[in-house]
Structures are given as C-alpha cells and as structure tokens.
C-alpha cells in the first residue's frame, strides 16, 4: 500500500462549501489573494509566480509567469484574459471539479490575472458538454458583481474587470488556445499559424493570455502563501500538485490531487486501489493524446518532465487503466478513431494522418497489416509529430506510437507473416 498522501490546493474547498455562496468562499479565505494583488505591482505578482515555478496544467507545461511576462508590459487599448475550460481529453474531468465545486476560486484567479496583465475583459470558454459548470460560473459571476468585486473600480483600486462565460459547441480542437480565440470570434475552431502568438496578437488582434482552469486555480494560494511555499511542494521543476482523474480498469474510479512527485504506481495502486478485471497491462496518462505505458514505467513520478523523459506525457492528468484481459490493439484503434472525428481538417498532416493511422490500426486488428505497413505508420507518425499545425495533430499519433514502442509484441503477433 502507498504512503503517498493527497494534498489539496485547487480542490481545497471541494465539498466543504456551498459552491454558490460567496460568503462561504470568503469564510475559507477567499478574495484575500485578490485584495493582496491589488496592492502589488504587476511585476511583483509575476515575480511571485516565477518564484512559485507554476507551469501550465492543461498539457503543455509552459511556465505561467513567462506567458504573463510577454503580455503584461504591452501597451494596448484592450487586452484579454481567456480561461481554457474546454476540457475534452477523454478520461479527464479535473476542471469540471473546480468549476462545479469552487467557481469563485477561478473567478478570483481570473480577476488577479486581469489586473496583472492589464486586461479588463475575460472570457471563460467552457465546453458545451458542461452546462452545469456554465451555470455554476454564471451564478458566481453574479455573486461577485453583487459583492462589488467585479465591474468598475474593484475594491477602490481603479481596476475595472468584467468576465463572461462563453459556451463551446462540442469540438475537441477548441481546447487548443488559438482555436478558442477563433471560436469566440464566431469562426470555425481552427488553430492559427504562429507566430504571431496570442500573447501579442490574440482575440480580435489584441494581446491575449490563455490559461487552463487548474493552472489559474493555483494562483490565489500562491499569492496568499508565497511562491516559495508552492515551489517546495512536489517535483522541483514542475512544483505544486496535480489533479489526476482515474478511469478504466481501476477499483476506485475517482480523482486525487497529489504533489507532482507522486508516482503512477501510487496513484493506480494506492489511491486507485489497484486493477480490476485482471492484471495490469497498460495505462494511458494524459488523455487520448497521451502515451500508452507499460508496467515498467509505473515508478515514474507524474511531473511533466519525468513523464516526458519516460516517453509519455502528463497531459491533463487523466489516468486510464487497461487490464490484461483487454484487447490492447482494439483499445488503441479506438484511440486512433477519436482523432479522425476531432481533427479540424485545416492542416494536411493531421487531417490525412489521423485517418491513415486509424486505417492502419483497423488493418492490424483485422490481421491484414504487414511489416511494411508498420514502418509506414511509424514514419507517418513522426511526420505528424513534426509538421502538424497544432498540438492536437502533433500528439494524435502518440497512442499508436507508444503502443508500438512499448507493446511491439502485440503488433508482431497480428502482423502477416513473411510480409
């Protein structure tokens, strides 16, 4: 059994408070960080974030302070802060937990972000599949306005800030930051070619910072307790905690918020209670774009860099467990199919590549693939990694690639002999 412990920062208020009540949020220390921030300079807040070492929780792991530092000094008539709440990676429901159970935390964080960046308007782009989260946030926005902490001259600081919930409409690609911008602008959610980056040319051409829900939700605690405190938790290079959501063949299909130096083993066998329906075969970490990993990698800590070094990715923190009674190739075929549905079709490597990788998996499962097909699939996957326009297409081959890499014997058994 595991000695690893949960540590709740972003989920600190989970089921402790009535999510609709601003008074209960304030009673737990809510809005102290905003009050503190309003007495600080933008540069001082960014320094605190730098000291914390906070990096993105949406999958890319980019340092939050660095992203903010590009946009904060820019002089512009309008800047925007956008919250990416288009959580769509299969197996992931971390952002939903925050939005449904502690919406004021996110709103406080966004207000701090707006103040730091000089952005007077913010959008929370919530996936269309989460109407209850949209309602929870709208209730909290109304409550914040009523308490005088949103709108004109917040708490007498001279800072104006307004926030709006924007509903997605069932498109996985709209979790990509420039696709979100396109979508809010009323267009198809197709990622933009970069540069320019949204930090300088974003929503309606204005400087725009896009942060994930879980990333933002850490910020009030960082300002309250100091960057050093945060930096001391978990892994050195990716400090803090991470919400992990468990699904698949695992006893406890639940969520945990753990320090980032916790291992996959502790998550699956400690918090998850072990594997159901058979023995462990594989785990896909980070959502459908994540790697399919073998038992030999379970001692890997979940932090961004350790997962990447192991040949996987932390991604969104989804942990999808697959037992040895499953037909792994059939499950990987399903993963490949997902991308044929969700590729936006703008760039050729992704539009064509996702379909061809799925065709390859169908051929493998039907026992009709050859050694040459396998080589072509590997080559195609590398082309997609390198040349797709956005993260979706670059990561789309990952399940197939990692399955070939770590479970090559399963493929070999199904390939046509003498081919």
């Amino acid at each position: 059994m595991s000695l690893a412990k949960e540590q709740r920062i972003v989920l600190n208020n989970y089921d402790k408070i009535n999510p609709a009540s601003i008074d209960e949020y304030i009673a737990q220390g809510g809005y102290q960080a905003l009050k503190k921030a309003l007495t600080m300079s933008s540069a001082a807040i960014i320094d605190e974030l730098k000291a914390s070492g906070l990096r993105g929780r949406g999958g890319a792991g980019f340092p939050t302070w660095l992203k903010w530092s590009f946009t904060a000094p820019i002089e512009a008539d309008q800047k925007y802060i956008v919250c990416n709440a288009d959580e769509g990676e299969p197996g992931t429901y971390k952002d939903r937990l925050i939005m449904d159970k502690d919406p004021y935390r996110l709103i406080e964080a966004l207000t701090i972000a707006g103040y730091t960046l000089g952005a007077t308007k913010g959008y929370i782009y919530v996936r269309g599949e989460y109407p209850q989260s949209q309602q929870s946030l709208n209730t909290a926005i109304t409550g914040t306005k009523a308490a005088g902490m949103m709108g004109k001259n917040i708490l007498g600081s001279g800072f104006d800030f307004d926030l709006e919930v924007f509903s997605g409409a069932f498109a996985f690609v709209c979790g990509e930051e420039t696709a979100i911008i396109e979508s809010i602008e009323g267009k198809r959610g197709e990622p933009r070619i970069r540069p320019p980056y949204p930090g300088t040319v974003g929503l309606w051409g204005k400087p725009t910072v896009i942060n994930n829900v879980e990333t933002l939700a850490n910020i009030p605690a960082i300002l309250n307790n100091g960057g050093k405190w945060f930096a001391s938790i978990g892994a050195v290079k990716y400090p803090g905690t991470k919400i992990m959501t468990l699904s698949g063949d695992v006893v406890n299909k639940t969520f945990v918020e753990v320090p980032t130096d916790t291992t996959l083993y502790d998550i699956i066998y400690g918090f998850g209670g072990g594997v159901t329906g058979g023995d462990f075969l594989a785990v896909q970490v980070g959502g459908n774009s994540g790697g399919v990993l073998p038992e030999s990698l379970l001692n890997t800590p979940i932090d961004f860099d350790s997962m990447m070094a192991a040949g996987g990715s932390l991604g969104t923190g989804a942990v999808f467990v697959i037992n040895d009674k499953r037909d792994l190739l059939d499950v990987v075929k399903n993963m490949a199919h997902f991308f044929t549905e969700e590729s936006c079709g703008k760039c050729t490597p992704c539009r064509e590549g996702c379909q061809r990788l799925y065709d390859f998996m169908v051929k493998v499962c039907d026992g009709k693939a050859t050694v040459k097909d396998l080589k072509i699939a590997n080559g195609l996957a590398r082309v997609m990694n390198k040349s797709a326009l956005c993260g979706l297409g670059q990561a789309a081959p990952t399940p197939v690639q990692t399955a070939i890499k770590f479970f090559g014997n399963k493929f070999e058994e199904k390939l046509l002999q003498n081919s």
């Binding site: 992931t92 429901y93 599949e129 924007f166 009323g186 959610g189 468990l246």
Partner: protein
C-alpha cells in the same frame, strides 16, 4: 420541446445577439436550443445581421457537433465512444438502443421523437459508459432499464 420554426421568432433570437461582438456562436446556441436545428432561413438571416457570407456561417454551423443543419429528433441521445466508455461496454448499450428504437446511430425515429448519435468524451468517465439525453448524462445504465428511460420522453 421543438417549436415549429417561424421567421419572426428566429429574427427575435438573432436580434438579441446582433450587437454582441462575439455574438455568432451564442446566437447559434439559442437557435439550436429552440429548434434542435439551424434552419437554412436562419443561416441567411445570420449572414445579413452579422454581415458574414452565408457560406462562412454554414461552415461554422457544420463545424461544431452541437449544431445540425438537418432536423434532429425532439430528443437527442448521444453515446460517448471514447476509450473509457468503449471498454466499459458502450457498443452493447448503443446496440440495445438501436434495437429498441429500430434505428441506427446517426438516424432519427420516424415519429421525430429520438435521434441517436455518437459523441466523444463528456467528462464523466468515473461512471462509464455514459450517454446523454438532451445534454443530461446517464451513468451505468443496464440494458433492462432502457425502455423505462425512453418512456419518460
């Protein structure tokens, strides 16, 4: 409930959003919620109000899986086919619904009451397999429960 479409009420919906800078998607949401379809007349009207070519509006309306330009049933049943639901037996559940309603996924019953569709993850993977009826999620439903669930609509 699906209201019968009239020009007047579509105009009224669109008018609410015409001065909103990011108004096109919210307008499509509002039309979709009322009619379960984005009728051709609405595409034309949206084009006029937002001063965007009809082709572009059509492109937007067909990009997002939430919107349909062909009439759906009054009740839209969507089955998650992502990996966590896949291994939890989503296919058996879909087959049972198809048998019960006498249609295939992607089709609408003759009486216009139900549409069956596939979708990807709805973020409820702790209780797979998941399907939604009019956005309301249903968890861990056994095949025996299906007639009773359908009877509620």
């Amino acid at each position: 409930m699906v209201d019968s479409y009239t020009n007047v009420s579509v105009d009224k919906i669109i008018a609410e959003f015409k001065d909103v800078k990011s108004g096109l998607l919210p307008a499509l949401h509002a039309i979709d919620e009322k009619y379960k379809v984005i009728p051709e007349e609405a595409l034309v009207k949206l084009s006029q109000v937002f001063n965007i070519p009809v082709s572009q509006i059509y492109g937007v309306a067909t990009f997002y899986a939430k919107f349909a330009v062909n009439q759906r049933g009054k009740n839209v049943i969507r089955f998650c086919e992502s990996a966590p639901c896949h291994i939890a037996g989503a296919a058996e559940l879909v087959a049972a619904f198809e048998k019960q309603l006498g249609i295939k996924a992607g089709e609408t019953t003759l009486d216009g009451k139900f549409t069956l569709e596939f979708c990807q993850c709805v973020g409820m993977c702790q209780e797979a397999p998941v399907f939604t009826i009019n956005q309301q999620p249903y968890f861990n439903v056994s095949i025996e429960e299906i007639p009773e669930i359908l009877a509620r609509f």
